[in-house]
């Protein structure tokens, strides 16, 4: 996948194959690719929540737990990430394809 001249190796569903290359810049690029022009504070709250959980536990968090931790309702999450918690937020957070938690 190429975004703004930068190439990323992704799996067949668009998730990064190497989550370690993730950075804030990469998050912004994936978001732009998904039609989110700018990551706002609520976007970052969700991304950092997912990223932190993944770095600590090696898994994606439960959707309910993302909402509880950030105080953002799932409905609002879908407005922020129209592709939803898995295909949207987790991809922007640089996670590999979740096994089913999200």
């Amino acid at each position: 996948m190429e975004i703004d001249g930068r190439a990323f190796e992704v799996d067949d569903t668009g998730y990064l194959t190497d989550p370690s290359i993730w950075s804030d810049d990469v998050a912004g690029l994936i978001a732009r690719h998904d039609g989110i022009p700018v990551l706002t504070e609520p976007h970052w709250a969700i991304v950092r929540c997912i990223r932190r959980h993944w770095e600590e536990k090696g898994t994606a968090p439960l959707v309910r737990s993302i909402c509880q931790t950030t105080g953002i309702k799932l409905k609002e999450l879908y407005e922020l990430f129209p592709l939803g918690p898995s295909k949207g937020a987790c991809r922007v957070a640089g996670l590999p394809k979740p096994d089913g938690c999200v």
Binding site: V63, R64, C67, K73, L74, K75, Y78, E79, G84, P85
Partner: protein, 386 residues
């Protein structure tokens, strides 16, 4: 926020208090091997098993032989035993697109192994199988017709009486999967021409998970496909041929039998028709409530007649799983999404392309308030992407 449970078609929840209480009390006092020994607890356990066989026999085949009512883990387990125990090399089996994987997969494996031939019959735009189409599918080598009495995706109740007449005329065995109907929709094997009824305990019969079974009519040659301890004639090498031992081996799930016993008694006491009518009134309100949203699509839900309280729908521009997650996380409404283990239904509806449907299913403990909250939640989700 307390969970609103609308996944009763998967497992009814909660159970009546008497079910929890009786399982606990009976298992504490008499949770031993039934009929294997002569001490009091064993005899009481055996009495409970026989009483439960009788209760279920009266439900499916009034005046029938309770020994032909056998227990298993669930409907999938019994369907495996019935299908594999009836089918022989060269047989043909007719089944419908409404079947659950508990029928589809046993048939698939027998077909893939070259044992049987199969013909699948579709359903119409309202979700009903045509008896004439089933009649047309029957061949000289047809051994059995297998029909899901009530679709677990659509809730439509199939015309088993007409299909039963056709099967009797053609001399083929008629197997009915009553997983979604036993306990809410009357079934009478004699008047409906049904040869085998398969049921599970954990749905409308209000028992726990892990208990189900079948009633096999006289003259239906189901071979045992599993063998083992029966507690009788232990010196005999071969498995016991008589019912109920023929289709049972190993110690029964006694806590399951106890819960099923209490669930059936609760149903009878409350009135099966009363419960069904109340559930259908709630279903009708739910159906009409969500059908008012322009981007909600319901499937085969145009009236309460020949229907059970199961409602499948989608919201345009949403995948079913996303709607289910929103209902769960933002509204604490438990439902089922996806293909509901019945891929044939979705292939015909075209809902396989959006990964299935959202299914809401009502049980005896749902209230008007639950339904109003569900309608409001679906409306708010639908309003997100008009």
């Amino acid at each position: 926020m307390k969970m609103i449970y609308l996944d009763n078609a998967a497992t009814s929840f909660p159970k009546p208090d008497v079910v929890y209480d009786f399982m606990h009390d009976f298992y504490r006092e008499n949770g031993v091997s039934p009929g294997r020994s002569g001490f009091d607890a064993s005899l009481k356990a055996e009495e409970l098993v026989m009483e439960t066989r009788k209760l279920l026999t009266e439900l499916f085949h009034p005046g029938g032989n309770p020994n032909r009512l056998t227990f298993s883990y669930n409907a999938s387990d019994s369907l495996n035993m019935i299908i594999q125990g009836l089918a022989e090399k060269g047989d043909h089996v007719v089944y419908t697109r409404l079947e659950h994987n508990s029928v589809l997969r046993p048939l698939h494996h027998l077909h893939a192994d070259g044992v049987i031939e199969v013909t699948q019959v579709g359903f119409d735009a309202r979700g009903y199988v045509s008896p004439a189409e089933i009649e047309g599918a029957i061949r000289a080598n047809t051994k059995m017709v297998v029909v899901n009495h009530c679709s677990n995706v659509l809730g439509t109740i199939q015309p088993v009486e007409e299909i039963g007449r056709i099967c009797k005329k053609a001399g083929v065995f008629f197997v009915v999967d009553t997983t979604q109907s036993a306990g809410v929709i009357p079934i009478d094997m004699s008047s409906m021409g049904v040869d085998v009824v398969v049921f599970t305990g954990h749905k409308c019969l209000l028992g726990p998970t892990g208990i189900g079974g079948s009633y096999v009519g006289e003259g239906v040659p189901v071979r045992p496909t599993r063998f083992g301890g029966t507690g009788v004639r232990s010196a005999q090498e071969a498995h016991i041929e008589e019912y109920p031992y023929r289709l049972e081996c190993g110690t029964l799930n006694m806590v399951g039998v106890a819960g099923l016993n209490a669930g059936i008694k609760w149903l009878i006491n409350e009135g099966i028709d009363v419960i069904h009518d109340r559930e259908m009134r709630l279903w009708d309100r739910l159906r009409k409530g969500i059908q008012q949203f322009e981007n909600v699509v319901t499937y085969c839900a145009d009236g309460v007649e020949h229907h059970s309280p199961v409602l499948s729908f989608n919201i345009r521009n949403f995948e079913a799983a996303d709607v289910g997650t929103l209902l769960d996380v933002d509204y604490n409404i438990a439902c089922r999404t996806g293909l509901q283990c019945a891929p044939g239904v979705h292939a015909l509806l075209g809902t396989d392309k959006v990964h299935g449907t959202v299914r809401l299913s009502i049980g005896p403990f749902n209230t008007d308030d639950h339904i109003e909250q569900a309608i409001r939640a679906v409306g708010e989700i639908a309003g997100m992407r008009k």
